[in-house]
Amino acid sequence: MTAPVLAVQDLTTVLHLASGAATVVNGVSFDILPGETVALVGESGCGKSMTMLSVMGLHPSPPAEIVSGHVELEGVDLLGMTEEKRRLKRGADLAMVYQDPMTSLNPLMRIGDQISEVLVAHGRSHKEARHRTMEVLGQVGIPQPARAANSYPHEFSGGMRQRVVIAIALALRPKVLIADEPTTALDVTIQQQIIDLVREIQADTGMAVVWITHDLGVVARVAGRMLVMYGGHIVETGLTADVFGRPEHPYTSGLLKAVPPVRGKERPPLLQIPGTPPDPEHQPPGCPFNPRCPEAIERCRQEMPPETARHGPTDDGQLQTAACWVPPSEWVA
């Protein structure tokens, strides 16, 4: 079996708030293999962004604090190293792209300088940095790279700005790209262009991508494998086709039925999941989904179910796992 490029073990991050400590990432473990695209799926407040920020060491501290866990990039422990060393790893091997490109670009600095700055900070000469800047602007499909390099972010559309942010992330040829809702603010035709772009880059470079999204359509389109988060826990994992085909967690199942079908003459009412995702400060005891779950039994209100293997392993060693006390054969909904 291939060694993972990124391995996260039992990661737990708490937020220290005036009202007390809230566990926003709760014992999260997963592996990312070289070249693969994995979707990290969940609704607002489920902990998906905080998980990946913790992996990057970019969690806002304070109030966030990683209280346990290991993060290994190609076998090297990231959490144990000094911030200085981690900073060099970040960008070089592990890069992140955010939802709103405007907030990750400096409005007062030319695009080209923003890309070169990253390269120079990682030890490239100014000449090398300039060369790579032009190369990477071309790679992300920005017309006339030399002219673009001299422009400011506000001179670009949202889609072009997101290409610039991706160019910055790619400048150092990272092994893993963490894309946090990179297309959520974009129109669908522009989203498709960005999806194609990331795919092309992956095909060229063998970079792995962790795609954080709430959009199940995007998951089906981009990801070979998916991780479903709820209330700070990973509640289901597996190959995308398997998880969509036979969800093992009632939350995954509910999410899939809440989306309107896009084919056929039938338009049945959509499945509703009652209530709203829990606020990290007020997590219920037991499984975080239990207050909204149609399948919840007494045990769910007392004890968090462990993640267990449900199907597999497949030929390439992949398991479908879920953290739920009630098997689908006993579901009532």
């Binding site: 559309s157 669908v188 035709t189 086709a241 989306v259 309107p260 084919r263 959509l270 995702p277």
Partner: protein, 327 residues
């Protein structure tokens, strides 16, 4: 077919561009009809003019030219008490109700105020009417005592809908009503809208960038691009068998939550971006991005004409393909 309740003809909205003598055409000649009890879905990407159209239809803004009629009566230029009367009959629901709720006022008071402004009930009965309205949108009566910040996004949108319903409108214009909500919350609002429409016999104009949601709720769909309707007809042919290459591009760009479907799809992304409405391309506004564009598309703006029964599109190439002469 019966007469439409709400009808727009050749609506144009131009905004002056500050510091210049030029103007930007946000809506460039749109005609739509809404029938009793029907939902007209309007779908398009940012800058297509769909939100401006919504604001014109509810008379929050005045059209530069064109006419709007409500039950045959021209409401394009009315104001004063007649406009207030129209506001009772057409209500708007916004994407983010938080922005339109007074943070210092309880939910109950917010809804009561609407009832009082429109003098729909005596003051004593408006409280019980609030309870009734909250129940209609699936909120417990105790919500009347809460403030907007104490509510989740989905609950706030329910309040936004209850407030719109307070005046017993015939028509709701819904501008991206579920776009800001989580997936599991969206479905509840969509079901609520469907139920209210059926129970109260209202007609909806449902505006969204999300073709999936528009497809789910609409009887008819109009697809907008750069200020114009480029395709319109019943929901199923427009969403599933589109005639216009832009609608097709939109449909293909929307990822389907089904890996089986996605694995067998070869989506070719369309090039470029929506042009600047202040400087629109010549001819068909879609031609710079269109995979089918021909010489004529660069020069001649295609009219929106019926190409199949009850199914119109504005495309030279599509017209020829279905054997209709384009105008």
């Amino acid at each position: 077919m019966s007469e439409p309740v709400l009808s727009a003809r050749d609506l144009v909205k131009e905004y002056p561009i500050r510091g210049t003598r030029q103007s930007l055409t946000a809506v460039a000649g749109v005609s739509v009809d809404l029938h009793q009890g029907e939902t007209l879905g309007i779908v398009g990407e940012s800058g297509c003019g769909k939100s401006t159209l919504a604001r014109l239809l509810v008379r929050l803004e005045k059209a530069t030219s064109g006419t709007i009629t409500l039950d045959g009566e021209d409401i394009t230029d009315i104001d004063g008490s007649r406009l207030r009367e129209i506001r009772r009959r057409i209500q708007m629901v916004f994407q983010d109700p938080y922005a339109s709720l007074n943070p210092r006022q309880t939910i109950g008071r917010t809804i009561e105020e609407v009832i009082e402004v429109h003098r729909l009930r005596e003051r004593q009965v408006s409280k019980s009417r609030v309870t009734e309205l909250l129940e209609m949108v699936g909120l417990r009566p105790t919500f009347a005592g809460r403030y907007p910040h104490q509510l989740s996004g989905g609950q706030r949108q329910r309040v936004g809908i209850a407030r719109a319903l307070a005046v017993e409108p015939e028509i709701l214009v819904l501008d991206e009503p579920v776009s800001a909500l989580d997936v599991s919350v969206q479905s509840g609002i969509m079901n609520l809208l469907g139920r209210l429409r059926d129970e109260l016999g209202m007609a909806y104009v449902f505006i969204s960038h999300d073709l999936g949601m528009v497809r789910h709720i609409s009887d008819r769909i109009a697809v907008m691009y750069l200020g114009r309707v480029v395709e319109t007809g019943p929901w199923e042919p427009v969403s599933d068998h589109p005639l216009h290459p832009y609608t097709l591009a939109l449909q293909e760009a929307v990822p389907v939550a089904d890996p089986g479907v996605e694995a067998n799809r070869h989506v070719s992304s369309i090039v470029g971006e929506v042009p600047d409405p202040a400087n629109p391309p010549s001819g068909c506004p879609f031609h710079p991005r269109c995979p089918l564009a021909e010489a004529i598309c660069r020069d001649v703006l295609p009219d929106l004409i019926p190409l199949l029964e009850d199914h119109e599109a504005a495309c030279h190439v599509a017209a020829r393909r279905v054997g209709q002469p384009a105008r």
